[in-house]
Amino acid sequence: MGGLLYNVFIDPFMQMGSAPDLLLQVLWEGFVSGTLYALIALGFVLIFKASGVFNFAQGIMVVFGALSLVGLIALGVPAILAIVMCIGIMAALAYSVEKLVLRPLVNQEPIILFMATIGLNFFLIGLGELVFGGEPKVMPTEQLGLPTGSWDFDVLGGLVIIQQLDVAAAAVACTLVAGLAIFFNKTRIGRALRAVADDHQAALSVGISLNQIWRIVWFSAGIVALATGIMWGARSDVSFALSIVALKALPVLILGGFTSIPGAIVGGLIIGFGEKIAEFYWGPLVGGSIESWFPYFLALIFLLFRPQGLFGEKIIDRV
């Protein structure tokens, strides 16, 4: 018993203290996954805020974006053009979702819209397999100009290896997150988006077109999905399994709150750091790979103590 307590509560911290270089390495890994989780979570938040729909298909949009890019490059399309075409595909997707799914279901219960996105999820899986085939693909990093080398740093009496690809992934994620934050807070459309999130009826009454706003959020979520797909695909493979990784955005959202952009960012980072540290220091105790369930465990604990999430929209209560 004493040994177990020691293993759980003392030994991991001793390890952290005795090998700070390893800790740094783990933290870096956590940071990179964290930024990507944050990016996926942002896709969910965007759509949820503007339309109250929990978009179950966000994960598959990530895969779909990445697959389209790989497919286009495999056909010999130059990388830049392929990215532009993928953005076009995401725009088309956003347009058709608004036209064919959301518009006919306007004024329906949220659960019905949620079911519709589950349908969309399977439709996109089917379409993706039909067009691109089901086998995993490799993201052509050289054509895309993504760096593949690594930097070694001698710090804290050890060696920390930083993959350049990870740096690029984190940079892309941070840029997109910052870009979206500015878009939301400083532009006319962003203001309208927040207005719609606050009060659909009032937004309609001042002449904001909900259909236009929906197209814009689905398109932004598509862009976010595409970026995540490219970066994540480059770090591993592009396969349908990516959509399961994307579902890790769920615990991120529970941590951060479904309607908060800062929440998605901080939540993503917490989940990223948390799962890597847990995996590295506590994983061996139970035979490893706790990475896959640890975020959900963390989310569960959060649900018990702070169900609205860290940054859940302030509930303005007038008395």
Binding site: R194, A195, A197, D198, Q201, L204, G207, I208, S209
Partner: protein
């Protein structure tokens, strides 16, 4: 179009509204708002005032309501099949009952959302923002507060100011007095009057507070059970014995004892 239709900015011809395909709410309502007029729709809860306004602003469809008969013309053109945003572009905007400010946006952001449909550039919008602040100086002090945290009166001003930011020819104002202190209600109506005189905005307002509405409006329609039961120039309505009895709550002669309140001296003469 009716005879004096040339003069009317808004004409509602005998509209019928059905909610959810079954519930008949308006049973043939007709009304007219002259250019630069203030017209009041009066009536009790559930009379159909809000529905009438929403039918005009086309917000009805978002609530599964539908105009099934009749027509609505704004500035001489049919508007009953438009989207709300098209109507705002044409110059008719609704201020909804209960203010409906965007609570998580600041007061100034709220005002700016009102300019969403405008395409005449930042300069013009900024100028109108200042204009709104001259009408409602209190909003300028509160410009960076979240709208959810300001007082009810300030929220009503924000809602009216937000509508003003779309540069409307006509504002549909739903129950501006709701939940406000009498003094504030007076202030809101004073502003309506000023906007009407200085900015040439026409108003169609729905109001339960018959007293104040008839004080500021030029013309009034009384709605009951989805029908117009009486209409007339505001001053005439104020003097009408039926209106006094049923809507203004003042008896014709001596003070009323509440012991006898069940025994109406008058009967609504429009109920046969």
């Amino acid at each position: 179009m009716s005879e004096n239709g040339q003069n009317a900015v808004l004409t509602v011809n005998n509209i019928e509204v059905i909610y959810d395909h079954v519930i008949l709410v308006l049973k043939g309502v007709s009304l007219e708002v002259p250019k630069e007029g203030i017209v009041a729709i009066l009536g009790a809860n559930g009379a159909g005032k809000t529905t009438t306004l929403k039918a005009i602003s086309n917000l009805l469809r978002a609530e599964r309501g539908e105009v099934t008969k009749g027509s609505i013309e704004f500035k001489g053109q049919r508007v009953d099949r438009l989207n709300p945003n098209d109507l705002v572009r044409r110059g008719c905007i609704q201020v909804m009952e209960g203010r409906h400010c965007f609570e998580h946006l600041t007061v100034e952001e709220n005002l700016l959302t009102g300019a969403f449909t405008r395409t005449d550039g930042r300069g013009a919008i900024a100028a109108d923002l200042e204009l709104v602040y001259t009408y409602f100086p209190r909003l300028k002090e509160r410009r960076s507060s979240l709208a959810g945290y300001i007082s009810g009166g300030e929220q009503q001003m924000t809602a009216v100011g937000r509508a003003l930011m779309s540069r409307p020819d006509m504002i549909l104002l739903d129950e501006p007095s709701m939940g406000l202190a009498p003094q504030l209600v007076e202030e809101i109506f004073e502003n309506v009057k000023r906007l009407n005189e200085d900015e040439k905005v026409s108003f169609l307002l729905a109001e339960q507070n018959t007293n104040i509405a008839l004080k500021f409006a030029h013309y009034g329609y009384i709605l009951e059970n989805g029908r117009v039961v009486m209409d007339g120039v505001a001053s005439t309505l104020r003097e009408n014995e039926d209106v006094k009895e049923f809507y203004l709550g003042v008896a014709g002669d001596n003070r009323k004892s509440f012991k006898n309140v069940k025994h109406y001296k008058r009967r609504k003469r429009w109920l046969s």
